[in-house]
């Protein structure tokens, strides 16, 4: 989903790429914006992986 959608609630989630690992969290990047998300629900994650993120939490890996 892109920026004009409601990113704060609901069934919207954003696909972002892992650019840094920080223990139970990871920094992800989407269209140049970076955010730290919790990754317990999908761990272990690797750099470069695409994650579906919502409300500060990675919910799932995204397949190709």
């Amino acid at each position: 989903m892109d920026a004009c959608n409601c990113i704060t609630c609901g069934d919207v989630a954003i696909v972002a790429r892992v650019v840094e690992l920080r223990g139970q969290s990871a920094v992800v990047e989407c269209e140049g914006a970076r955010e730290e998300v919790a990754v317990e629900l999908v761990a272990p994650v690797e750099l470069g992986e695409q994650l579906l993120c919502h409300a500060g939490v990675a919910l799932e890996r995204v397949g190709q």
Partner: protein
């Protein structure tokens, strides 16, 4: 996932639209409900209805978590926010939802400390930074959002936080679907299932729709080609006489969902006996509350709440819109007394709300173009 443009190709969309048109029997009607507000938004934003034959009607479902919260709960939220020493944190859309005495933004203007956050984890961080204040998070959302709240409760427990709580309003997708299927005033032929809710719960919880009610379901992604393909898959099921739960959104959704996400919800929250939905009334076992053993983080236990039921303003027809019985432009205050700038009802507040999506993307011309069946 590869680049988004792959899911937005006009050429492929035109091809899919042709295949959809070829499946449709002229003169018959196909009423398909998109359950999720994210789909409603995508349908209006990308003009998907314009690509469909007149026989296919999309009905907007109850899947906007802002829209389904009844006014009484919003009053409760404001009552918490206005207590001394409270920092009340919320997702942005809830700030503007009208309650009996204005919105949370109005409460902020009156002096309440109301702050917007992107994640409950941000609210917990605020609690850490403000040990002399009570920080409350307004937890709303479907199964997509509940894992984030659950994970935050687990972290709050691990940290021993004593100034953090949540006002829990998490709701579940399958129970209102049963209520809609049981309602006498709406006949639907199939459902476009919510993609990201299904990332968490999987596709299995929709199987009753096919087995008990004989209606097909296709769980769909949110790009225009995802939505078009899911409509094609639904029509194929209908024309072939099949009735199954299919998964269009295979790049993220698995039949069993995310078991770890389900486990953290199960650990911290339990299903309430009943919960009031705007427009749908009380629905049994349709929402989550905080488990007793996590009660120290439950704002409903920590604060005294008015807890009164409040009727919607008489002019507001959000209820009918949420049930799919009325299309947005058929509401008597749509676009006149009720606009995104000055909303009367919740459906006009959130960008996932059917009325706001309809209003923002200029679909007003449909009012004269298509007469709803």
């Amino acid at each position: 996932m590869k680049h988004l443009s792959e899911y937005r190709s006009g050429e492929i969309a035109a091809g899919l639209a042709e295949r959809i048109a070829a499946l449709v029997e002229p003169g018959s009607a196909y009423k398909l409900m998109e359950i999720c507000g994210g789909h409603t938004h995508a349908i209006y934003r990308h003009g998907i209805e314009d690509l469909l034959p007149a026989e296919v009607q999309l009905v907007h479902g109850p899947g906007c978590p802002v829209c389904v919260i009844p006014m009484g709960r919003q009053d409760d939220a404001i009552a918490i926010a206005e207590q001394d020493g409270v920092i009340f944190t919320t997702f942005a859309d809830m700030l503007r939802v009208p309650a009996t005495n204005g919105s949370l933004l109005d409460a902020k203007a009156r002096g309440a400390d109301v702050r917007m956050v992107y994640s409950p984890l941000d609210a917990l961080r605020l609690a850490r930074e403000n040990p002399d204040r009570q920080v409350v998070f307004f937890a709303i959302g479907f199964e997509t959002t509940a894992p984030s709240t659950a994970l935050t409760l687990l972290r709050a427990g691990a940290e021993g936080a004593n100034n953090f709580s949540i006002f829990c309003n998490h709701v579940l997708v399958p129970p209102p679907l049963r209520a809609i299927l049981d309602a006498p005033d709406l006949q639907l032929d199939g459902f476009i299932g919510p993609g990201h809710v299904s990332t968490v719960i999987g596709t299995q919880p929709y199987e009753f729709i096919a087995s008990e009610y004989g209606k097909p379901v296709v769980v769909a992604g949110f790009e225009p080609l995802d939505v078009l393909q899911s409509i094609y898959m639904l029509l194929r099921q209908l024309t072939e006489g099949r009735c199954e739960v299919e998964n269009q959104y295979v790049r993220v959704v698995r039949r069993e969902g995310n078991e770890r996400a389900l486990a953290v919800i199960e650990e911290t929250m339990e299903v309430r006996d009943t919960f009031e939905w705007r427009g749908l009334g009380f629905i049994e076992r349709s929402a989550l509350g905080v488990r007793e053993q996590w009660g120290r983080f439950d704002a409903e236990r920590r604060f005294e709440l008015p807890g009164t039921r409040v009727a919607d303003p008489p002019a507001c027809q959000c209820g009918e819109v949420l049930r799919g019985a009325l299309r947005p432009w058929e509401c008597k205050v749509f676009g006149t007394a009720c606009t995104p700038e000055r909303p009367i009802g919740t459906c006009m507040v959130s960008s996932e709300g059917a009325c706001a999506a309809y209003y923002n993307y200029g679909r007003l011309e449909r009012r004269s173009e298509r007469t709803p069946a």
